[in-house]
Amino acid sequence: MSIEIRDVSKSFGAFKAVDGVSLGVPTGRLVALLGPSGSGKTTLLRVIAGLESPDSGVVCFHGENVTCRDPRERRIGFVFQHYALFRHMTVFENVAFGLTVRPRAIRPPRPEIEKKVLGLLKLVQLEWAGDRFPSQLSGGQRQRIALARALAVEPRVLLLDEPFGALDAQVRKELRRWLRRLHDELNVTTVFVTHDQEEALELADRVVVMNRGRIEQQGTPMEVYDSPANPFVYRFLGHVNVFHGRVREGMVTIADDQFGDRRAAVYVRPHEIDVERSRNGNGALEALVKHVSLAGPVVKIEMERTDRGGNVEVDLTRARFDELQIKTGDRVFFALRNMQVFPEDYVI
């Protein structure tokens, strides 16, 4: 089931939560809506679900306009940020809810419901938890129950609002992989909201970066990470060094103020900087190592340019670092391996 959103806007009072957004989600894809808080991603998800009605614009499921359809007619699965499990019902009753509330005529018989629920509990690896209450489960377990409950109605579309937001780092990572596998198995069109770029890049087929109610960029995780469309996306998708430079005839420099008259901002990721012990090659700049952080798979080095000041963050691989033997206080030379240039006056 594909989702098609055309020109959707939604305001709350004077606040424009979603501002003329158009977006297509092809059948069977796993799409992340990524953005900072207040970027409109959750509102957009709720519009898709029918929990908010847009002020203008159209939502289509598989070509069929569902904008004015009640959420209960849309056949969607929605997983809430805080799970919204029914606290007075057992886990079994929670998962069975979507089936037991059906009108008698289309309600499956009791044994069938039971079979289905047990199957889903097995799928989320919580077969043993059927007669527990949500309050007796951990966050990660509740999350999986919420997912099983959403899947029970065989949704055409699965929508998840910050699915891992309330979990600790370890559980988060495990659940993330588990959800990816589950999606590959079930192949339900899925949209999830997150503010965690790592999560979006690791999990999704497509990432939609949102800011201030608009879409800044959409594409595969590689596309948005490797070629961000603008400084906002650049900054939001990871650490970045910003150098102020000058542009002339398709050339840019960050070391010469007399070079050309157009100012430019040069964006470079920490891992796209080469560090050398000696100045070999032109364009290398000198810097003083101020701090070395050895924890983790990459070595993070903080240094200060000697020519005009300003901090530079560099990520080195362990092997490269061992080769260079850098210590705090060393003088080194760095060159930019990859960069993206934006006009200086761009406002984020």
Partner: protein
């Protein structure tokens, strides 16, 4: 007695003694007095005071009044709490304040306003008179006054709870295909049932025990418009002490039952 600060302290004993003394003067002694006066001339007199026709009429009227007031305020309280907790609308603050009005106004004044509206010389009096509908000095007036006085109990119990629960569970039910009515029955109501019952118990106690507002609109017609509290007062004014206290003991029993029920619900609520 276990001291939370560790060592027991003379001040602590003094304070406890003061509280117990205060309680016995203002609570225990009156309750003992009610029953000792009621049983002064023996159980036979006690029982006959409760079974005389006027007493039975008062008991019946009290039950009828509660039977109207409690369900009405149950429905109103649920509707008001639902509206306030789950929706945003203009004038919400005003509604919350208005719900508290019966608590902040003297019951006698409340009764008087009803006579101004429904009484013979009141706004609606002439119209009601023409259609031969009696409100003031009749059962409808008593029910109206009681409904007014007991209006906040259920709503006030539910509003904070429903506000803290938010509406995510209702939304989840909706997305799963549950109709509004089913969502209410299977999600909203079970989530608030103990608070609701608690409110109902308090509402019922007040509905049966209300004196001031009911006294103004009742007219004290014996066997017709007397509730238990009014009946007790009349008997007392006629120096029929044992009968008055026998009637009062009914209200004391009601208080005991209310307290026990309240405790039981509180206990269940903590476990839920």
């Amino acid at each position: 007695m276990i001291s939370k600060i560790g060592k027991s302290h003379p001040g602590q004993w003094l304070l406890t003694a003061a509280v117990l003394g205060f309680l016995s003067v203002f609570l225990v002694v009156p309750v003992v007095a009610v029953f000792s006066y009621a049983l002064q001339k023996g159980v036979a007199v006690y029982l006959s005071a409760l079974t005389e026709p006027d007493a039975l009429a008062a008991i019946r009227l009290t039950l009828v009044t509660a039977a109207f007031a409690v369900p009405l305020n149950l429905a109103f309280g649920l509707a008001a709490a639902w509206a306030i907790a789950k929706f945003d609308f203009r004038g919400k603050e005003v509604l919350v304040t208005l719900i508290d009005l019966p608590f902040s106004i003297s019951p006698v004044i409340a009764g008087l306003t009803f006579t101004f509206v429904f009484g013979l010389n009141g706004w609606l009096g002439p119209w009601l008179g023409r259609h031969e509908i009696k409100v003031i000095f009749a059962v409808p007036g008593i029910v109206l006054a009681t409904v007014f006085i007991t209006l906040p109990f259920v709503a006030r119990e539910l509003i904070p709870l429903m506000e803290s629960q938010g509406s995510e569970e209702e939304e989840a039910a909706q997305v799963l295909g549950a109709s509004g009515w089913r969502t209410f029955l299977r999600v909203t109501l079970p989530n608030v049932k103990w608070a609701l019952l608690y409110g109902v118990i308090l509402c019922n106690a007040r509905a049966m025990g209300e004196f001031g507002a009911v006294s103004v609109v009742s007219g004290h017609i014996r066997g017709l418009t007397n509730t238990i509290p009014l009946h007790a007062e009349i008997l007392y004014n006629e120096y029929r002490t044992e009968a008055a206290f026998a009637t009062a003991s009914l209200l004391a029993f009601l208080a005991f039952i209310t307290l026990a029920a309240k405790k039981a619900v509180e206990w269940r609520r903590r476990r839920a």
